[in-house]
């Protein structure tokens, strides 16, 4: 019983021509009481993995322990101890909020009252409203209420804020923080890097069915070697708004600038990770002028998990980067 979730060498292959390997040998350990983020672009295998962990999909191979129990042997016990919010469940429009929670509550031998569950997601005032009268954010909070009504030890939240407006996302974040503070273990999938950065103790970054990075958000960002990112394009002095492919020798010179740890060129965009932002930007402008180029579309910011992902895969995440 060392881990709340422990899965080893997990594989899931869907029969097709050719077979689709959604999960390719995954190892994942989630500690008790932590909020663990599973990050990755669409199609990275996040939902497949989480549904295997939730016991909704059989794995092709590998071992999974949930709260020290195994699917296939202790299904009922595991289901009583976990809470689940799926990516796109459409609850019945005709029921009220309270009726919906009461229905889910009835499946568990021990559960919170309907009022307690609704209070945790701040939906008490909507208790008598029909589901079809709720906003997107309220519906998502209701889905979370259905997941926590059994007061679960382990909670799975699959993309709980996808498609929500910024205010609603923050409301959901607050609920998750509260659950985390109450000692619940949470496994959260998201493709918003900022969400993972704010909420998660540790994150695993998924790509193509594998974990390509694992650690606390700070650790992962520090692995870039700097905490500032400068992003820009090259343009000819005569045409400052038409980016051109940066010459390799200039990129090499940039790598030698003081405090610069990474220089990457992705689709005519240069990303440079460093620690001393003002000095680096000044040096850059000078360097480009010397070669008859100008900086185009310059922006600077603190490094994020998004940059970690780009560094590891050379791809951008579909992120709103709120």
């Amino acid at each position: 019983m060392k881990f709340a979730i422990d899965c080893r060498n997990l594989r899931k292959t869907y029969p097709a021509k050719p077979p689709v390997e959604a999960v390719r040998g995954l190892d994942l350990q989630v500690q008790y009481g932590e909020c663990f983020g599973v990050l990755g672009p669409n199609g990275a295998g996040k939902t497949t993995t989480i549904e295997i962990l939730e016991g909704l999909l059989p794995a092709t191979s590998g071992e999974v322990w949930i709260l020290g129990r195994q699917w296939g042997r202790d299904n009922r016990e595991i289901r009583q101890r976990i809470g689940v919010s799926l990516q796109e469940t459409v609850l019945s429009d005709e029921l009220t909020v309270a009726e919906t929670v009461r229905l889910f509550r009835s499946f568990y031998p021990h559960a919170l009252t309907v009022e307690q569950a609704l209070a945790q997601v701040s939906l008490q005032e909507k208790a008598k409203s029909r589901v079809n009268k709720l906003s997107g954010g309220q519906k998502q909070r209701l889905a979370v209420a259905c997941a926590i009504v059994s007061d679960p030890e382990l909670l799975f939240l699959d993309e709980p804020t996808t498609g929500l407006d910024p205010t609603s996302r923050r409301e959901v974040w607050e609920i998750i923080r509260q659950l985390r503070a109450n000692g619940r273990t949470i496994l959260l999938t998201t493709h918003y890097m900022d969400e993972a950065q704010r909420l998660c103790d540790r994150v695993a970054i998924f790509d193509e069915g594998r974990v390509i990075a694992l650690g606390t958000p700070d650790e992962l960002i520090r692995s870039l070697g700097g905490d500032q990112v400068v992003q820009f394009s090259f343009a000819k002095r005569q045409e400052p708004h038409s980016p051109v492919e940066p010459p390799t020798e200039i990129l090499d010179t940039m790598r030698a600038l003081p405090s610069v740890s990474l220089v990457e060129n992705i689709a005519e965009q240069v990303r440079l990770t460093c620690q001393q932002l003002p000095a680096v930007v000044t040096a850059l402008i000078e360097l480009l002028r010397h070669h008859d180029f100008v900086l185009s579309d310059l922006n600077t910011r603190e490094a994020s998990l998004d940059d970690v992902f780009i560094h590891l895969t050379g791809k951008r995440l579909e992120s709103d980067a709120a």
Binding site: E54, G55, L56, Q80, V90, S92, F107, Q238, E239, S242
Partner: protein, 386 residues
């Protein structure tokens, strides 16, 4: 300004994005309307279910119904003669007409067949107008009574066919004696025949839509999957669906019975317990059929198609609106294998003839088998996740 000086290598991607003009010389196949039509055709042809229901299903129905009505040649009117003096002689006379199917029956049996819609016309010796049957005279000269429900299609036609046949036999003489008896006592009218048919139809539709469609809807909304993630017992869920369906059945049937009683004085002539038992068992049977066809369907298109596939043959063949006795003899066995047919036969036996359900052992066994069979296969085959 300095466009000419721009090295060619730096703009290849821009060049490929430059719009190609849709001049007058563009191909007809590139016209928006052509592309739109093509797109619709492609979408349609890549949906096999839609292709099946559009092209194959109407053909299937055409062959079923077409062969049902064709194999008999011309349509034949079912006529019965009540046994008695001259019955056999009349039988021989009428049998020479290819448009009449004639049999000799006992008086009670004749009335029962008339009630069940299995006869268009019942012929019996007249007892009215003081004209007495004579044992010496010819059958043609006898006073006959033609009994049929004027509300029901086919009775009048059968009467005319019989008259025509009698005239032919009597030669030029036009001395036919007959007496028309409209058969419209409660229990024997078309409406009496129709009400049990409607009850069966409601049970059929309720099972397929109320159970089957509802389950597929929940599967599409991923609600089934969400339930699966809880410790809910699968049996609780399925029984909940079926029981709630059964609760809808009772008021539904009560409304039909009450309305038909108030408007047409239709009533149940049999034991109420048997009637209720058969109705509930029928409801359960179609809940099972609904569960079975919903057990794997993943889209509404598939489900609507399956519902049509199951419902249409029963609507047309099982005898909701007219007796399946009108179909050729060889089709009776396959028709009676459909789940709705035995239910309607038993319901009509109870409601119209006042019989008990034990008078229909084969029918009851069929309903029971369909109920158990569909539930077992549905549970074994049921798809919870998508």
């Amino acid at each position: 300004m300095s466009n000419q000086e721009t090295p060619h290598e730096t703009t290849p991607n821009k060049k490929s994005l430059a719009p190609v003009p849709h001049g007058t010389g563009s191909l007809v196949s590139d016209w928006p309307i052509m592309i739109l039509v093509r797109t619709r055709l492609l979408e349609f042809s890549r949906r096999p279910a839609a292709m099946f229901w559009t092209y194959v299903f109407p053909l299937v129905m055409m062959f079923i119904l077409g062969s049902a009505f064709r194999s008999q040649g011309e349509s034949v009117s079912q006529v019965a003669i009540v046994s008695g003096v001259h019955a056999a002689e009349l039988n021989t006379l009428l049998k020479s007409s290819p448009e009449l199917a004639v049999s000799i029956v006992a008086p009670e049996e004749g009335l029962r067949m008339l009630r069940a819609g299995r006869l268009a016309l019942l012929i019996r010796t007249s007892t009215g107008d003081g004209v007495l049957p004579s044992s010496s005279a010819h059958a043609v000269e006898q006073p006959w009574e033609f009994v049929y429900d004027p509300q029901r299609a086919g009775g009048r036609t059968a009467e005319l066919l019989v008259q025509q046949q009698l005239r032919l036999s009597a030669g030029a003489k036009d001395s036919l004696l007959f007496h028309r008896v409209p058969y419209s006592e409660p229990g024997g009218r078309y409406i009496d025949f129709l009400v049990p048919g409607l009850i069966g139809m409601v049970l059929l539709g309720g099972g397929l839509w109320g159970v089957g469609f509802a389950i597929v809807d929940m599967r599409i909304r991923k609600l089934l999957k969400r339930f699966l993630a809880t410790p809910m017992r699968k049996s609780d869920f399925l029984l909940g669906i079926v029981f709630s369906r059964m609760l809808f059945v009772i008021p539904q049937i009560a409304v039909i019975l009450l309305a038909s009683y108030l408007a047409f004085s239709v009533s149940n002539h049999g034991p109420w317990f048997d009637f209720l038992f058969v109705v509930l068992l029928g409801g359960l049977q179609f809940a099972g059929v609904g569960l079975l066809i919903a057990s794997r369907a993943k889209t509404m298109e598939t489900m609507s198609g399956l519902i049509n596939l199951v419902m249409l043959p029963m609507w047309t063949l099982s005898g909701i609106f007219f007796s399946y006795e009108n179909f050729p003899e060889m089709l009776h066995i396959p028709i009676r294998l459909l789940p709705l047919t035995p239910l309607l036969d038993a319901l009509r036996g109870i409601m119209l003839d006042g019989q008990s359900m034990f008078a229909f052992p084969l029918e009851m066994a069929s309903i029971l088998l369909w109920t158990i069979g569909t539930f077992v296969i549905a549970l074994w085959n049921f798809r919870w996740t998508d």
